[in-house]
Amino acid sequence: MRDASIRICGMGGQGVIMSGLVLGRAVSIYEDRWSTMIQSFGPEARGSTCSAQVLVADVPIAFPYVRRADIFMAFSQAGYDRYIDELGEGGVLIYESDLIVPDRRVPDQVRRIGVPASRMVRDAFGTAVMFNMVMIGQLVAATGLVSAPAVQQSIVTSVPEGTTEMNCAAFDLGFQLRRPDRVPDGQ
Amino acid sequence: MADHTAGGGSSRLRGYVVIIEERCKGCAFCQAFCPTGALEMSDRMNRAGYHLPVLRFPEKCNGCDLCGMYCPDFAIRGVRNRPREDV
């Protein structure tokens, strides 16, 4: 998958925007293809769900909005609830499997990839903050949207100084993950 | 609307608290400023994912409602068991 519309959604503070940035920057700069990222601010200023729309293509992108998502990465149940209907048939759903329970709204032919990312980072690093990188790692591994080295470079230029190493490690954790909580397609 | 009360009605206790769980945002002000140390932040979460206070030591609560005064979210209230002191 080299062209895709991606929706990322979660709570404020979960690193939704950073995820979009890392992906978009990897594509735009480190693969010199094209990408856009639009973050939608919640209706109220404070503490609400937040989402990002990332488009990836080999040509410049005219219309920067997700109309039908090819990939939906959900970090929270509320985010899942809000955007699941946007996911297209045959798309990919990547979700935090400890926080979200996919239901019958998942369209046909969708690959469901559950990742217990928070648990994984807590086990590995003793903190929950890098869990978005685990999710991205698995997204990249599962879809081939962008190359892992490009993403790693992107992480280096995107995350705060001093956290690079851990973020990269978290990405690897996700990328290497062999057995995500995968549910057979089309169920 | 009061999701949770503890100690209410029991005449042996001087006070109790009323908590509207869905409003709580887990700031712990109630617990921190309870003069008797009656409250504790629990592991229980509400739907929004916030940890809730509980009246861990009902016998300590005197219903002074300081917890209620400090709550930014109108989620908790202390009540005295002797109605004549109820404000």
């Binding site: 920057r25 735009s28 700069i29 856009t36 992108i61 005219a62 219309f63 | -």
Partner: protein, 385 residues
């Protein structure tokens, strides 16, 4: 003050329009910004507050938009390039000082990252509802230039043009972004300094006795000076003569105000920028600007794929409005659709310019979200039915 390469972040970036605008301003030589926070424009000044101390610029957060919109003009008269940044409600508060900049011929850039109004409206949502305000929002007759970027890259590139126009025409230049381009990340290439065309401030070298700050020597724009250059100038928002002295006669009013309007409106051809494709011999042309133009492009591609002869015009400059160019477009097509994120603003200008040559249709909304390409496709089909 550092100049040139040392300050530029030349190279490829993945940044949003607000940041790109800030970087573009730096590239254009802007070194003084006075602002007041307001969503969705604040990231521009936040970025500058971080960047400026490292490159010899200064960002000043003022107490309100009234001060923000004139403080930088003081810096401009000191010889510096400056601008202010705001959104809807703040833009409304800046109206008096847009007129002041026009009257005093202060090279000045006002950035408005448009959000949905009226009033506080939807502070975090996009709109293109301030484009008529940009032209008419201050009292009196005056001339301004307004540009509208459609992508983060253009936020960078066009703000440089804004500064160049400000220097060339000594007038307020309004950069009419919208929340979507402001908050949208995309690939932005910042060229190296030698690939950026920057019009530098030209300070008159005339002797004080030979200089008057509002005397036109060539063309219709007077030579600029700066405080401390020895010219001992006076400037005022009152009607004034060439030396800047108040002149309360209608003769002075006529010649000054006509010149202020004329130096912009008589140069439509030099100032105006638009892109068009597939216009000649089309059945319908969609005219649009800013982020809406991206949508229009999407829709036009879609219907062309379905065999409809649709064309597109993207206005890059909004003001001065190029009546003639629009009229020519009308002569090359059968229908015009104007797409904008408002309840009908620039469409009125198009209607006026078109003089009934072809029907003009509007597609718009009350702001708050971009219009779906389907609506445009639908409209195209409808008018051709």
């Amino acid at each position: 003050m550092l100049r040139g390469e040392t300050v530029l972040r030349s190279g490829k970036h993945f940044m949003d329009g607000n940041e790109a605008c800030a970087e573009g301003a730096i590239a254009a030589g802007c070194r003084f910004v006075s602002g007041y926070p307001i969503t969705p424009s604040t990231e521009i000044v936040e970025h500058l507050s971080r960047r400026f101390p490292e490159i010899g610029g200064m960002f000043l957060q003022m107490e309100d938009e009234l001060s923000a919109s004139i403080c930088f003009q003081g810096a401009v008269w000191a010889g510096v390039k400056g601008m202010t940044v705001t959104s809807g409600p703040g833009f409304s508060l800046m109206m008096e000082h847009i007129g002041f900049a026009a009257m005093t011929e202060t090279p000045s850039v006002f950035v408005n990252v448009q959000r949905a109004g009226p009033s506080t409206g939807l502070p975090t949502a996009p709109a293109q509802q301030d484009v008529m305000q940009a032209r008419w929002g201050s009292h009196g007759d005056y001339g301004i230039i307004a540009l509208s970027p459609a992508s983060p890259q253009e936020c960078h590139d066009l703000i440089i043009t804004c500064f160049n126009y400000a220097e060339t025409y000594r007038c307020p230049v309004l950069f009419m972004m919208d929340e979507t381009v402001g908050h949208m990340h995309g690939k932005v290439t910042i060229p190296s300094m030698e690939d950026i065309h920057v019009v530098e401030r030209r300070i008159s070298t005339r002797s004080p006795s030979d200089y008057a700050p509002f005397r036109v020597v060539e063309g219709d724009v007077p030579e600029m000076t700066r405080a401390g250059a020895g010219h001992r100038i006076h400037m005022t928002g009152l009607t004034h003569d060439e030396r800047g002295y108040p002149d309360m006669t209608t003769a002075a009013q006529e010649s000054l105000v006509r010149r202020l309007c004329g130096k912009v409106n008589n140069h439509v051809k030099e100032i105006s920028m638009m892109e068009s494709r597939h216009v000649e011999g089309s059945d319908v042309v969609v005219i649009s600007y800013g982020i809406s133009a991206q949508i229009a492009g999407h829709a036009v591609d879609a219907v062309r794929a379905a065999g409809i002869r649709a064309g597109q015009v993207r206005l890059i400059s909004l003001w001065p409005f190029d009546d003639e160019a629009i009229r020519n477009i009308a002569r090359s097509t059968r229908h015009i659709i104007v797409l904008e994120m408002n309840l009908g603003q620039m469409v009125r200008e198009v209607e006026r310019a078109v003089r009934g040559i072809v029907p003009v249709h509007a597609v718009g909304n009350a702001g708050g979200r971009v219009i779906a390409p389907d609506c445009v496709v639908e409209k195209i089909r409808e008018v051709l039915r």
